[in-house]
Structures are given as structure tokens and as C-alpha cells.
């Protein structure tokens, strides 16, 4: 059937009023096509009825009050809620003012998700998140109270009712200046930090999800929609931000590149990006990418933009806006248009840029870190975020140390804990067969959760505080205020210090500064803390990591508490005892054998001897004399500690014959002397020990240098001195004289 022809024929025929003419026309036009002629004939007969049928316009009736489940009419009931008024429409749904009927009467916000979302999976995802959402309790976070399905099958969420306006509108209307805006922003960051610590990522931070109202004359922000972005994201994590038609839900203006990419690998740092984009808008009137930048672009293009296109610093972009718009932007901030770019240039530019780094590892690690930097700006203190020239130095440090930034240590911890629990609950949820035991388990779980949550919170709080202190100390170190930095760090418990590059660099700097000033005990404490940092970051098996160990071990062994050395030895073994890297193996043996070790320790590190021995033979053997001599030294030390004096002597002789490092040679000779003592050659031993003693005294007499002009670390001498002291304490080491009282 060709509807074009049908239509033409029908229209032509119906305009012919005479029956006779009409029949003649159809006979002619249809040319013997009986089916076609019958069809047109039938249509012509039905024409009048059709007109009548369509005359009645479609109408809507006022639903009877009991009808109840028409899902979005005002006055309708949904679950325990009655819709009172429509508050507005967002990216993925409509929000209503509703009244909760039971268990208590109160007003709430009810958001009905737009049609086209898979209700079942939205609700399922929400259930998984529910427990962690319930843990959030913060004055600046709107609570999500409930979720369900309307009669027509659309998912809905019930939230605490928030009375306020979009943060950007509020600031503009009130003509808040930059510092007032920043103070407000800090409050937002703190709320997000709280959520992150409870394991909840928002995923859709943007001005319209941050509502502000006045409370006692002060603006109070409230973040809404927690947990909803996650629940309404696509079935597979990867489709997070796209509808089935592959279109962005909402605006990508505040979306991190990794979230836009849909890789599904999203962590708290994605929220940091959104916070940065929002900060940019609060300051300059536009997010880093303006809404118009995305117009008429496909999803792939937008992803590419977010991934690769540089935005330029906020002050420069503001200057480019210029003219009238700039004037009105400045006016809304109560700033002289001429001065606004200058006010943003520098620190504020860099804070925004650090928050919206495309590579999330270079962003602020936590919302708290971002807030602190903003606070530093407000306090006119130097900020952490710096222009690339300085960041370049920083990244060089990163490369040199290969200590990767921990993935926002504090928040990640909370995140993992939260996910584990909610996944478990999800499966629990599914098991309907054992309803009773499920209920019991849930009750017990809720109780233990509450207890755990309290303990967790205290721990998180301590960690967050420790992270703050480390960051402040890092700032002091940068400005060479070592004593101030040391003072800050001295009060920290080693196990609370965040595992980050910032922390490790700061600790090394402060420890060395203490050494240079002869504050041995303090140096040992900092090194002890450093080992906690170095061994708790997930790193590759590289020697760059273990390099800091010898000074640390030496300092701790010399000046620290005995338990600190034991603690250090335990951590080091746990982290690296299975290494197959001969340099790491050498470092580990050296630092763990500075003091006599028990059988368990010796057993744990014994395999490393094989790694080292293997590196000394064959075509690929180590050719660097310096490295070879150190390896021979540790093999000697290990054999000595194991009681295999013959092997120990063999290696020690080889090592002591090598030149180029006086303290190493001295230490090797001390091992030989100790063997002599055990085998009854006390005279030989004493001769050697006296000589080494003199060398060590000579080193001590000179000025303390972290590294000598011959590039020998102080810690090499430290090793020699520690072993010498051990040897001198052995029977027969000192001639006839009874040991003096100290």
C-alpha cells in the first residue's frame, strides 16, 4: 500500500461532491486495481464517522481523591507521601514538595525520576548505597530518607526538604565578594569530605545541587541528591553518565574527565574535580568549560574536550570575556571590574587548576585538602597549589622517588569499607528465604555498624587531622622553617600519618634537619614515622623506595627506642622480604641485620641471600664494584648472624678488600674481628677493632654531613659504628680491663 497515492486519491475523490463523478474518477484512477478502489471507497464512507470520532477532544479528569496512585498529580499519594506542590525539574526528574504521613508528619522533597530509566536497577543500586547514605550525618548534607516505585513504575527518592537557592544564584543575588564566596565554598568542601569519609561519592556536584539559605544572618549551604546520581547511573558502572541514546544526562560542565569517559573507575577525586569546576564558576561566573562549549557536540567530542583541551587559568579566561559581561560579573562580586582578574591571578588560579587537573593524581587528594588551601589563601598564607614551574620540581621529585601518591588514603579507606558493607547487605537483601535470620542479622548488624561507625569516625577524624598537620608541615619545609615543621610533626602518631609523597618528603627533610642540628632522638622519631609511610604505600618493587631505609635504620638503631627498631624491622620485612630485586634485597638485609636478629627474622629474610648470590655470578652478574662490595658485605653479615662463621669470613674478606668506601671497608673488618673473637683469636681482633675505633672517632670529630664530599652517606659510618659497638661489647674485645661503669 502506498500511502501517498491513497492520500492523493482520497483527497481528490472526497472533493468531488457528485456521486456519479466520484465513481467515474475512481474507476479511471484505480485502473482496475480493485483492492485500491475498495479501500478508497471504504475510506470515503467512513469519512463522516471519523470526523465525529475525532471531534471529541481528549480531556483530562480531575482524579478522585481515592484514586491515589496517579504518580505526579498534585494531591496524589505515593507510598507514605502526599504531593503538595511542584518545586522544579532537574536533569533526570521532577521534584515535588510532599508531606510524609507516617510514621511522622513532616514535609519532604520527593524526586520522581524521568521515564526511561530502568526502575528495578535504579532501586537496586539505591538499596546498595542506602546503608552508607544512612551513615552520613552532617548539617550541610540533605539526608536521603527513602526510595520506592510509583504506581506507574517510576523510581522516586525522598529527601530532607531543603529550603534554599542555588549557590551561584545566592552569591550573585547577595553580591557576595570573593572571600565570602570562598568561605561558603569551604563549608561545601567540608560536607563533601564528611561524605567521602563515609564512603559516599556524590558524582553530580554542581551549583544546582548545592542550595544555600540564610540562617541567623549567615549563609548555610546544603548539598542535595547524595546517592541519587549513583542510583540513576546506567546498569553497568561504565555507562554511568549516558542514557541509552548515548547522550549526556545533565551538563558535562562539572564532570570529571574520567567520569565522562565512562570508564567506571570513579573515586572521591572525581568529586574534587566537580568542586573545582564549581569554585571556578563562583569566582568567574563560568565553569571551566561553559555550557555553550558543549553545544552541538557529540559525546565523543565532549569526552575528548574534557580529556585533552586545556581551559586556561580562570583569571585569563575572565580577561578574555571582557566588556559588559565582565563588568556585570565583577559587579555581582562587589569588585571593581578592572581589579577582578588581578584578584584571581596567582593563588586562586592555581587552586582551581589543581582541583580540575585532568590527571586525578595531581588533584587535591581530599576535599579537605582543597578546603585547607582555600583557607590558606583567605589567611594570606602560601597555598600548596603552585604554578607549573614549581610543580615541575615537584614532579621531578615524584619521578626520583617513585613513591606514588596514595589514592586519597583517608577517603579511600572509608570508601572500601562502605562498599564492602553495602554489597554484603545487598546479598543479604536478596536472601528472602531466611527472613527471620535476616532480620536478626540486620538488627545485630545495625548495632555493630553504629558502634563501628563511631569508632570509625574517631579514627577518620584523627587521620584527617594528621593529614592536615603533615600538609602544614610541608608548607613550612618549603619555606625552610624546619623547626616549625618539626614541632608540628613531633606530636603525630606514626601510624596515623597519611601515606603520601608529601608526607614522606616532609619527614625526610625534617629528619635530616634534626640530624644536622644534632637532635638525634627527634631524627630517629621522624625516621620511624617515615618507615610507616614508605611501607604502607602500594609501590612497585624498586630500590628508590628502600633507599631511605639505611639512614632511617641507622638513626632508629642509634637513637630510637628499641621497640621502634623492632617495629621498623617488622614493617620492612613484611613489605619487601619477597623482593627479587638484588638492590632491594641488599638494602633490606643491611637494615634488618644491624642488630642481632632472632631465628624467625633470619628465616624470613634468608631467601634474599639467594637473590643476592645469584646477582654475583653468571654472565649478567653485577659489574659495579661498589654494589658488589655491599652485597658481599650483607652476605657476610647474614652468615655471621646465622652462625655460619666460615661463609661469613669468606664474604667479609672479599668485601673488606674493596676500596672506595672507607666505612664499608671498616664495617667488613669489624665482622672479621667478631669472627676472630668467636674463634679465639682475640689479639688479631683487638688490633682491628682499635684501628676501626680510631677511624670512627675521626669521622665523629668532623662536622656532621648528610653526605660527604666523597658522596658517602653519614649512615655508612653509622653502620660501622653500630657494628663496632657490638664487637667491642663481646668477651675478649677489650684487653684485660674490666668494662667501665657508664
Amino acid at each position: 500500500m502506498n500511502s501517498q497515492i491513497d492520500r492523493l486519491l482520497f483527497e481528490a475523490a472526497s472533493s468531488i461532491t457528485s456521486q456519479e463523478d466520484r465513481q467515474a474518477f475512481l474507476d479511471f484512477a484505480c485502473q482496475g486495481d480493485k483492492a485500491l478502489r475498495d479501500l478508497i471507497q471504504e475510506l470515503l464512507e467512513l469519512e463522516g464517522g471519523a470526523k465525529e470520532f475525532f471531534e471529541l477532544e481528549p480531556t483530562m479528569e480531575n482524579p478522585a481523591p481515592v484514586a491515589g496512585d496517579e504518580d505526579s498529580g498534585i494531591g496524589a499519594r505515593i507510598g507514605h507521601y502526599r504531593l503538595i506542590d511542584r518545586l522544579g525539574a532537574g536533569g533526570c526528574g521532577v521534584v515535588y514538595l510532599a508531606e510524609q504521613q507516617e510514621p511522622m508528619k513532616r514535609k519532604v522533597a520527593l524526586k520522581i525520576i524521568r521515564l526511561g530509566m530502568d526502575t528495578e536497577s535504579v532501586i537496586a543500586r539505591f538499596s546498595m548505597e542506602r546503608e552508607s547514605l544512612a551513615l552520613m550525618d552532617h548539617p550541610n548534607i540533605a539526608r536521603v530518607l527513602d526510595a520506592g516505585t510509583t504506581a506507574s513504575g517510576r523510581p522516586y527518592f525522598v529527601m530532607e526538604l531543603v529550603d534554599g537557592e542555588k549557590i551561584t544564584d545566592y552569591c550573585d543575588r547577595k553580591r557576595l565578594g570573593l572571600s565570602q564566596r570562598l568561605e561558603l565554598f569551604i563549608q561545601v568542601c567540608e560536607a563533601i569530605q564528611h561524605a567521602h569519609q563515609k564512603g559516599v561519592i556524590h558524582r553530580d556536584i554542581k551549583p544546582s545541587n548545592v542550595l544555600v539559605r540564610d540562617h541567623d544572618g549567615r549563609p548555610v549551604p546544603k548539598i542535595i541528591d547524595f546517592g541519587i546520581a549513583k542510583a540513576t547511573s546506567g546498569g553497568v558502572e561504565g555507562e554511568a553518565t549516558f542514557t541509552r541514546a548515548d547522550q549526556f544526562l545533565g551538563t558535562p560542565a562539572y564532570m570529571s574527565p574520567e567520569q565522562a569517559d565512562g570508564s567506571g573507575d570513579i573515586d572521591t577525586r572525581s568529586d574534587i574535580y566537580s568542586l573545582g569546576a564549581m569554585l571556578c564558576e563562583l569566582l568567574t561566573g563560568h565553569p571551566p568549560f561553559a555550557h555553550k562549549d558543549f553545544k552541538d557536540r557529540g559525546v565523543e567530542q565532549i569526552r575528548g574536550m574534557l580529556r585533552e583541551q586545556e581551559t586556561g587559568v580562570p583569571s585569563a579566561r575572565l580577561k578574555a570575556v571582557g566588556g559588559e559581561e565582565m563588568t556585570s560579573i565583577a559587579e555581582r562580586r562587589a569588585v571593581d571590574p578592572q581589579r577582578l582578574p588581578a584578584e584571581l591571578a596567582g593563588d586562586l588560579d592555581w587552586i582551581v587548576m589543581k582541583a580540575i587537573e585532568k590527571d586525578r593524581r595531581r588533584r587535591y587528594e581530599t576535599a579537605n585538602g582543597l578546603a585547607m588551601d582555600v583557607q590558606r589563601y583567605l589567611d594570606e598564607e602560601p597555598v600548596l597549589a603552585r604554578p607549573p614551574s614549581r610543580r615541575y620540581l615537584f614532579s621531578k621529585l615524584v619521578r626520583r622517588n617513585r613513591v606514588l601518591f596514595a589514592a586519597s588514603g583517608v577517603a579511600l579507606f572509608g570508601l572500601l569499607a562502605g562498599l564492602g558493607v553495602s554489597t554484603w547487605l545487598f546479598f543479604l537483601e536478596k536472601d528472602a528465604r531466611q527472613q527471620q535470620s535476616r532480620l536478626r542479622a540486620e538488627a545485630e548488624h545495625a548495632r555493630s555498624m553504629a558502634e563501628e561507625a563511631r569508632a570509625n569516625e574517631a579514627r577518620m577524624h584523627q587521620r584527617a587531622k594528621a593529614a592536615d598537620v603533615v600538609t602544614q608541615a610541608a608548607v613550612f619545609v618549603r619555606y625552610k622553617e624546619m623547626d616549625e615543621a618539626d614541632k608540628l610533626l613531633s606530636g603525630l602518631r606514626a601510624d596515623l600519618i597519611p601515606a603520601s609523597l608529601e608526607a614522606s618528603n616532609t619527614l625526610v627533610a625534617v629528619a635530616n634537619s634534626n640530624l644536622a642540628k644534632g637532635r638525634w632522638k627527634e631524627a630517629a622519631d621522624r625516621f620511624h614515622a617515615l618507615i610507616h609511610v614508605l611501607t604502607s604505600v602500594d609501590m612497585k618493587d624498586t630500590d628508590a623506595n628502600s633507599r631511605e631505609w639505611l639512614p632511617a635504620a641507622t638513626a632508629i638503631s642509634e637513637w630510637g627506642e628499641p621497640w621502634q627498631y623492632e617495629d621498623f624491622r617488622r614493617l620492612a620485612i613484611r613489605r619487601f622480604a619477597t623482593s627479587s630485586n638484588p638492590i632491594v634485597a641488599e638494602h633490606l638485609l643491611k637494615v634488618t641485620l644491624l642488630q642481632p636478629a632472632d631465628q624467625e627474622t633470619l628465616k624470613a629474610i634468608a631467601p634474599l641471600a639467594g637473590v643476592i648470590e645469584a646477582s654475583l655470578v653468571g654472565p649478567n652478574r653485577e659489574k659495579d664494584d661498589h654494589l658488589v662490595a655491599w652485597r658481599q658485605f650483607v652476605l657476610a653479615l647474614l652468615a655471621y648472624r646465622q652462625g655460619d662463621l666460615e661463609t661469613a669470613a669468606e664474604w667479609a674478606r672479599l668485601s673488606s678488600a674493596a676500596t672506595g668506601n672507607q666505612p664499608r671497608t671498616a664495617a667488613s673488618r669489624v665482622i672479621l674481628a667478631m669472627i676472630d673473637l668467636k674463634q679465639g683469636r682475640a689479639d688479631d681482633a683487638r688490633q682491628v677493632l682499635e684501628k676501626v675505633h680510631e677511624e670512627v672517632r675521626h669521622w665523629e670529630a668532623g662536622p656532621f654531613q648528610i653526605e660527604s664530599s666523597y658522596r658517602i652517606s653519614w649512615s655508612n659510618w653509622g653502620v660501622a659504628r653500630i657494628l663496632l659497638r657490638e664487637a667491642e661489647g663481646m668477651p675478649g674485645a677489650t684487653e684485660e680491663k674490666p668494662p667501665e661503669e657508664e
Binding site: 483527497e11 472533493s15 464517522g49 471519523a50 475525532f54 481528549p58 480531556t59 483530562m60 479528569e61 498534585i74
Partner: protein, 191 residues
């Protein structure tokens, strides 16, 4: 509302096409407006779909000249949205009547002369869906006329044709659709 205005201001689509960003906004707007109007009236009052669309239009456009030129675009979206809204409502009500069983309408058992407004909407929708593939132009005209309540003149302006053309097309489209209903419901009906 502002978002709708923005899209309309920027819209350069040729007559008849509806941009995907506009549709959901208009949809929400209409639903809200309907809910509000109905809440104001006493039980049993009816609200004409076409009146609703026109009211929504006035509240969006006001006297804004720039937007008035894109009136057709708005009405196109509004008609599509109205179709969804009316069908949703009719289905929800129907399923209530049938004890919550949202089974499809049993067309064979219906007497066309006696059908309610809601049943009429469901029948038209069902047939439009069947017709879509074969004759999308007619489906569009039905959408604009029946659900959107546009006058022939308005559609003629949108499409750049004469009013008479639209009138004839509408007559054809509605007759064709009516025939389909007629066939479905059997012979029990007197034309």
C-alpha cells in the same frame, strides 16, 4: 521555563522537527501545569488537552517576540508530550478499573460509540503506533491536531503550505485511522 525559552530562542530546526532537548522539558511543563489546573478544580471537572497546550505556550512565551517565531517548534513538542501524558493517564486509570491489571485494551469487545475519552485516547495511540512505519506524515498530523490542538492555520505556517492542504491531509489521516479502529472493533458500530 527559562530553559525552554533558551532552546526556543536558539532553535533553527526546520519546521516540524522537534529537538530532543526540548521534548522532556515541555513534557514536564505540561504535566505540572495539568496537575496544577486539575488540583484547582473540583472533582470530576475536565481539562481540555488543547487548552492546556495553549496555556503552557503563553506561560513560556509571554510577549517575547524572538520566541514567537519558534511557536511551531514548541507546539510540535507539546503535541508529542501531550500524547504521552494522555496515554499514561488513560493507562493508569484503565489499570485501576481493571483491578490494577494493566493489560492492553481489548479492542474487539468495545463499542466505539460508547467509548470513554480515555479509551478513545488509547485506541488512537495504539493505531498511531501501528501506522507510524507506513505513514509517518499522517501520524504527525494526527498528533498535532488531536493531541496538540493546533489549528490548520498554525500547522500550515509551520510547514509552509496552504491551510487547505492541511485540512485535506487531516481528513485523510483521521479517516484512515478511524478505519483501522473500525476494523479492529468489528461490525458492531454504526458509522
Amino acid at each position: 521555563m527559562d530553559e525552554i525559552r533558551k532552546i526556543l530562542e536558539a532553535s533553527q530546526l526546520p519546521g516540524g522537527l522537534v529537538s530532543s532537548e526540548l521534548l522532556p522539558l515541555v513534557y514536564d511543563e505540561l504535566r505540572a501545569l495539568a496537575a496544577k489546573r486539575l488540583a484547582d478544580e473540583s472533582v470530576g471537572q475536565t481539562l481540555q488537552a488543547t487548552a492546556l497546550v495553549h496555556e503552557a505556550w503563553l506561560s513560556v512565551a509571554g510577549n517575547d517576540e524572538r520566541i514567537w517565531t519558534n511557536r511551531g517548534h514548541f507546539f510540535g513538542a507539546a503535541a508529542l508530550a501531550m500524547r504521552h501524558i494522555l496515554v499514561d493517564r488513560a493507562r493508569a486509570k484503565g489499570s485501576q478499573k481493571r483491578g490494577g491489571n494493566p493489560a492492553l485494551l481489548q479492542l474487539e469487545s468495545l463499542d466505539i460509540a460508547d467509548v470513554s475519552v480515555d479509551e478513545r485516547v488509547l485506541m488512537v495511540d495504539e493505531m498511531m503506533t501501528r501506522l507510524e512505519q507506513d505513514d509517518p506524515d499522517s501520524v504527525r498530523v494526527i498528533t498535532l491536531k488531536f493531541f496538540g490542538g493546533l489549528t490548520n492555520k498554525e500547522i500550515a505556517m509551520m510547514d509552509g503550505v496552504t491551510e487547505r492542504t492541511i485540512e485535506r491531509h487531516w481528513a485523510f489521516a483521521r479517516t484512515k485511522l478511524f478505519r483501522m479502529i473500525h476494523q479492529e472493533t468489528g461490525e458492531g458500530f454504526q458509522g
